[in-house]
Symmetry: C2
Subunit: 449 residues, 2 copies
């Protein structure tokens, strides 16, 4: 039997694991500094929790877990008779795999509300699963990385979202542009352009701006029943470079003016300490038809042309679906897979992400094994990652292994070394060789750290 793994899933070799851990630890350190706390939720949720939360396509893409035991016993007889797969599912599968971190978080907040102090600030870094058709850069199992605060409408949290993006990408050395817009500004634009009832159609169209450009958005709007004239007024406002001019144009819309006011407030908070990356208002930002109701965010890197590497926004009512209304919140998400690819492509991972030992001891004969292992233990007791070749085979083979591991030092032990309790220490970079005792050896390794 030739083994394989499911399409769309991946194994991670040590180098990838170490790089990903570095990326997550940078993100996590910033989250913590901003007062966010980690939570984890189970991979399996009740299908009832997940179903209907991600639209029709989402329901199709949910992975369902078959009930254990004699699952056919309780199967929907009618669905079976009609061979109706989608109708049968709920009677033979009561669990599904987590599809994102947002719905499980909403469920978490409702279930643990008595243990949580509002505002509750949490972050969560865990894999999710989607039965999407696998393709380059798109997997069926991938990590999400979310930070949210629930239980407050304060705009300082919007400012925090901007600062978190700014600091994370500054630390990762990946330059980004952080864009902000406001759902109420989009609504206000629709209002003053006389298409208040078509705000969804407008938003869906505007959301395609990055892909299809101005004229594309115009024809999208027309396709959705917005007149060419109205579409043109929408586009003129959306493209308005002067924020004050936009504010003035929206003055007749209370909703639009509220959006303008919020954005001003967030910009005021953020500009107090400034950002290292570009941060700007952009009325062309729409973020699809998500549950957002206030500020919305999106991040991309000018150095990496593969679309957004993060996004988020404010929502008024995330937990309402689970019977706990009026809990507002705001949060942003980091696109872990794309950020990883960007760091890889731009060579931004630090060089010293060590995952190999600092030294490999090479025993030349079986009599040297005990001295070699004893020395190895001493080096490790000094807190240094160290290893030895496990058998006294040909030195050439041992050196080949040392090279493959990428260890910076090797220490050869033959009869002479063993008798005098010393090591032939070789620096694998410089080729320099020295005879040293155990204390000197440990010192060299500690200096070279």
């Amino acid at each position: 039997m030739k083994p394989s793994i499911p399409k769309g899933t991946r194994d991670f070799l040590p180098e990838e694991v170490v790089k990903r851990k570095y990326m997550f630890s940078v993100i996590e350190s910033v989250f913590k500094k901003f007062g966010y706390q980690p939570i984890e939720t189970p991979a399996m949720e009740n299908l009832q929790t997940l179903a209907g939360k991600y639209g029709e396509e989402g329901d199709r893409l949910l992975f369902k877990v078959l009930n254990n035991g004699d699952f056919l016993k309780k199967a929907d007889a009618d669905a079976l008779a009609k061979m109706d797969s989608s109708k049968l599912v709920s009677s033979i599968a009561k669990r599904g795999l987590r599809y994102d971190l947002t719905v499980p978080f909403a469920r978490f907040v409702v279930m643990h509300r008595n243990a949580l102090q509002l505002p509750f600030k949490r972050f969560q870094i865990q894999p999710v699963w989607r039965a999407d058709r696998p393709q380059k850069g798109r997997y069926q199992e991938f990590y999400q990385c979310d930070v949210d605060v629930v239980g407050s409408k304060s705009l300082i949290y919007e400012a925090e979202c901007v600062q978190i993006y700014d600091e994370v990408f500054d630390k990762l050395k990946l330059p980004v542009i952080i864009r902000i817009n406001h759902r109420k500004i989009l609504e206000g634009i629709a209002e003053v352009c006389g298409i208040a009832d078509a705000v969804s159609a407008m938003t869906i169209s505007v959301d395609k701006w990055d892909k299809v450009g101005r004229s594309g958005v115009a024809s999208e709007m027309e396709k959705r029943g917005i007149s060419a004239e109205n579409a043109e007024s929408v586009l003129t406002l959306i493209e308005e470079d002067d924020f004050l001019a936009l504010a003035k144009a929206l003055r007749s819309s209370d909703t639009g003016t509220q959006g303008i006011h919020d954005i001003e407030e967030v910009i005021k908070y953020v500009s107090g300490s400034g950002t290292k990356n570009e941060f700007r208002f952009d009325a062309t930002l729409a973020r699809g038809l998500d549950y957002y109701t206030g500020c919305i965010f999106e991040v991309e890197s000018p150095d990496y042309a593969s679309g957004s590497i993060g996004g988020g926004g404010r929502y008024d009512d995330l937990t309402g679906i689970f019977g706990m209304p009026d809990i507002p919140g705001v949060g942003v998400s980091f696109g872990a897979a794309r950020i990883f690819d960007a760091l890889e492509q731009l060579n931004l991972f630090p060089e010293n992400l060590q995952f190999s030992p600092r030294i490999l001891i090479l025993p030349m004969d079986s009599e040297s094994m005990e001295f070699a292992f004893g020395s190895l233990s001493k080096i490790r007791q000094a807190g240094i990652a160290a290893d030895m070749y496990p058998e006294p085979v040909k030195l050439q083979k041992q050196f080949k292994y040392a090279n493959a591991l990428g260890v910076p030092f090797v220490a050869v032990i033959g009869e002479n070394e063993r008798v005098h309790e010393v090591f032939a220490l070789k620096n694998m970079d410089s080729g320099k060789q020295d005879t040293v005792n155990i204390d000197q050896l440990i010192e060299v390794l500690q200096m070279a750290k």
Copy 2:
């Protein structure tokens, strides 16, 4: 709709996540020092990879993932007609959730053999899923924590397993007893007692020693067709306290003598640098009917009477099932859930596992919000985890939040503080209050770290 999570799964609140991360980071730091490298495998494996690897019970306890789309189209018509759930499974579910980390590791080694240098030393800390009946301390989703080396028969790796256990539990401050035995010693005992053909029956019986004691093991053996007389000779040898006497008794068995020799070698390696925890040979250790073929290990804590918190051993042929024979290996596993419970029960988690910010800023009026947020940003820029109450509500409510978060300091900002750009800083432990400027505030926080 009242939300819930599947039976046997758990949410983890911040405090639990932080504690678990501490535990894993201690374990991981030791693994790395011993030259082991991290890998990760997908949660979903092909059912073909998992099925038949864990015995009949294991097959029952595997979680199967329903094929997406119109899965009934390819369903086994015969199984459907007979309403035979277990026969139907393979035609409607081609994936399953990881049941342990060992089988995926074997698959990984075979699939990536060209990218790996043997001996390959890996560790893996990931959740696994089992449809076991949930009960106290037993979950359907739980972490495993495995360390293995494949591609060498050298006994230095057995010594490493002992040292890894010793150092991890020393660092966790949980005293343990590490026991070692050898499958070939058990075989040798069976041979010299004249029941070479009943070695499995003997091993299964001996495995129950910890639960049923000497007389229980005796009746287990008799139940399995071993005569009372033979059982008694087995028990006498297994209880032999004097290792040299046991060696002598096994002298007529080549297999047994090989086992004795291996154990001697491992003890020699380990005793070179000693252990901080008790390490001893124990012929009553059997470890069920697993795939082990050489040394076997088990760890328990005398302070925590809930059975083994770790175990492992040497296997001759892990990857043979995937078409790559003769790759020997040895490894041990840490029972993460039980170790967590032990640390919790014995109060061994460090007190300073910080997951709350160091300071909470409390704004007394809306005019102070901007100064508060600007100060907050400065404190964070100094690398200190900090937060503020997001609205200028009653101070009592803000203090309540500060207490709930467990922050060591709060800084109150009212009109006076805002005008003079200072803070009323309060140490929440001592109750001491001071008026400080931003530099002094940061200094106090840095000193108190």
